[in-house]
Assembly symmetry: C2
Homo-oligomer: 155 residues x 2
Amino acid sequence: MLRISKLTDYGIVLLARFAAEPPGTTLNAREMSEATGLPLPVVSKMLKTLAGAELLRSQRGAKGGYHLMRAPEAVTVAELLDALEGGVALMDCTAGPGHCEQEQNCNVREPWQRINRAVLGALETVTLAELVQPNTPSNLIDIQLRADAPPSDAR
Amino acid sequence: MLRISKLTDYGIVLLARFAAEPPGTTLNAREMSEATGLPLPVVSKMLKTLAGAELLRSQRGAKGGYHLMRAPEAVTVAELLDALEGGVALMDCTAGPGHCEQEQNCNVREPWQRINRAVLGALETVTLAELVQPNTPSNLIDIQLRADAPPSDAR
DNA sequence: GGATAGGGGACCATTCTGGTCCGGTAAATA
DNA sequence: TATTTACCGGACCAGAATGGTCCCCTATCC
């Protein structure tokens, strides 16, 4: 199905939740659980992951919680998937050399790399901030990408 | 990792193999297995799947085998993934209504649909024929897509 | 010091994935 | 018509991934 995992989905929903708050707002796991309707253990786990990925900053102890480390405008969906899914690679071989034992006699590799870059490019054009905004005209601008001008990091 | 499954990969490799032959060439499972180095049962299974998806036509009996139903230029990668993975949907909710129980109170849905369309668009710009061609200059043309001009079928 | 809240794991049930196998049927050939 | 070739349909299975829970530890606030 070419789908991202549920956990990743949850992580993004959580981040979007933070992005919808005033900058710097601190929220704890319980509040996030209530806000999203997701089970507390799951929320807790994902917040930990997001903090580990340096997308959220954690604050321990009473009155602790999490808050966004960067402005929502500065976080791309590609980064989110990178942090939550460990990179964006349609096939093993696009994840880098040595991932596929057929690397030599495969003639489909290069086009797939292009496709992968294309998809990655698409994901890099959308920011966390845009995920949060309601449907505005400015939201309907083109998502464009060029396969021959690949993004910075071809994972 | 946002990756496609190994089986899908195999399926595409097999199709690419057919596309590399003169139009109408019939090959059977054993030959495909030898050509690709994949185990015969796996090859057989995937060929069956591809035939079921109307990408290959099967011919039973002695001297039987499979051949491409359409010209490689007329088959997009999006179609391949559709046939092999049952559609391209990054998240459950992008697969259509009723797939997510949070459909109501979710504010991230619409942007995701756009992203999904963008990715789908990228996959639709590449054909099976292009997967087969070696690295030619014409192969490096832009892969462009517009999120506001979604493909025919938003799965 | 007590309460709150994150940190780091282990842990587990279920599903998915990759791969195998087998009996049945269709077609070609002799 | 008998035989051989090759697809058809589906069962089946081991192992990995996924989604989710739980627990003990440490940090911080009051």
